[in-house]
């Protein structure tokens, strides 16, 4: 029996396009989509960091006091957490980026062949997945080490 539940939606009904929502949710399509999502997020984060970094270092033109007060900002707990995030995101972005340079040149993806059920795509192979896992692992190790240095003795 049909029952109308009238859950109204505000979809972009005409085009049906997912828009930015389409890449915000990385959970539906496996590790490669997670990597795509993280590569974008880390890229955006590093862009913000880069702008902030240029602003921070340019403070030296206002004299040593301005520079010192800017440096003090990075010595707070919030500053340390931010720097740890910079370490993690830059490590992931670099390592995964190197993997993607090879991938997007057609390397490490396997060869076309005769597809057989259950059709496991050769481009989503374990070389690719391992590359993503290694990038994540190295980012975690780098963040851990950064945290130990920043929050450890004299941090």
């Amino acid at each position: 029996m049909g029952t109308v539940s009238n859950n109204k939606e505000n979809n972009n009904i005409n085009s049906g396009r997912e828009g930015v929502r389409g890449w915000l949710n990385p959970t539906r399509y496996g590790w490669e989509r997670v990597s795509y999502w993280l590569q974008r997020l880390t890229g955006l984060f590093l862009l913000v960091y880069f702008v902030g970094h240029v602003y921070e270092t340019s403070s030296i033109t206002n004299g040593i006091d301005a520079w010192n007060s800017m440096l003090e900002l990075t010595q707070t707990i919030g500053g340390h957490i931010f720097l740890i995030l910079v370490i993690g995101t830059s490590t992931f972005h670099t390592v995964n980026g190197i993997r993607l340079i090879f991938t997007e040149s057609g390397k490490g993806l396997g060869k076309p062949g005769r597809p057989d059920y259950p059709y496991n795509p050769s481009s989503l192979n374990y070389i690719q997945k391992s590359g993503i896992w290694v990038a994540l692992l190295l980012a975690c190790i780098a963040m851990l080490y950064g945290g130990m240095v920043l929050f450890g003795e004299g941090g």
């Binding site: 049906g16 930015v20 389409g22 890449w23 989509r33 795509y36 993607l100 993806l109 076309p112 481009s123």
Partner: protein
């Protein structure tokens, strides 16, 4: 009768009819299912016994025509190829394919998708052979080895179901991007030893909204029901365009009449 024979699931179907100014909503239907019941079977059951007005598109019921694509429990899938028992859920949500304009209920408009496909000139082009043949005696054959065929065969299995197009995050934000289906077809002809129109297709895809917008999210290959692996084709094509991967394609010879 075992418990499995009496199993029922709730089918939650996205409904909209723009002609009736009907705002989108979901209708719920209780449907009996067996181990082998597909989502398409369940929808047809709804049409037969609950609400004949549910709009769906289908034809072959065997993953060959590519008509029945829809979003099933959040993932683009073919309704005729998705068994309800494999979803392992008591509620099955059917929605129209994302990234396609919606016509009614689960039916979406494929015009733009098809026009991207047509833009790739998806047919063999070869200087030795005219495309306008009036007399059947002018038809020709090319010689190809099995190895030649293996290079493009998997890409020719595409049924144009649009699942890859609706899973692609680049298509989600850029309507001018040809999408995984069209780009993998460009590779299909690039890899075919009968085709020599590499430059024409490269010019079509090497532009601002073209192939370089693909960043290997791989979702197209995850959802493709025919093992086409469009992500593979696209990355191989990029490698060829960059001159980084070897393209040892030797153009096929024409089979001459004397040889027959």
């Amino acid at each position: 009768m075992s418990n499995e024979d009496n199993k029922k699931v709730i089918l939650k179907v996205y409904r909209t009819n723009y002609n009736k100014d009907d705002s989108p909503h979901y209708d719920k239907f209780e449907v009996p299912v067996k181990r082998w019941t597909t989502v398409l079977d369940a929808l047809l059951h709804v049409k037969s016994y609950s609400d004949s007005s549910v709009g769906i598109r289908y034809s072959c019921r065997m993953a060959s025509c590519g008509s029945c694509g829809m979003k099933i429990n959040g993932r683009p899938s073919l309704a005729c190829y998705t068994k309800i028992s494999e979803l392992k859920d008591d509620v099955v949500v059917c929605e129209p394919l994302p990234n396609f304009p919606r016509i009614r209920d689960l039916v979406s408009d494929f015009s733009q998708f098809f026009s991207h496909h047509k833009n790739m000139k998806p047919f063999i082009q070869n200087d030795k052979v005219s495309l306008d043949i009036d007399d059947k005696h002018d038809l020709v054959e090319f010689e190809q080895t099995h190895e030649d065929v293996d290079k493009y065969l998997q890409f020719s299995y595409c049924i144009r179901c649009g699942l890859c197009y609706s899973a692609c995050p680049t298509v989600a934000t850029d309507p001018k991007f040809p999408g995984p289906q069209a780009l993998s077809q460009a590779y299909r002809y690039e890899a075919d030893s009968r085709d020599d129109s590499k430059k024409t297709r490269f010019n079509i895809i090497d532009e601002r909204h073209g192939i370089w917008r693909c960043h290997f999210a791989g979702s197209c290959s995850v959802v493709c029901p025919k093992g086409v692996d469009p992500a593979l084709g696209i990355q191989l094509l990029k490698g060829h365009m960059l001159g980084l991967s070897k393209n040892n394609k030797k153009l096929s010879n024409l089979r001459t009449k004397n040889k027959e």
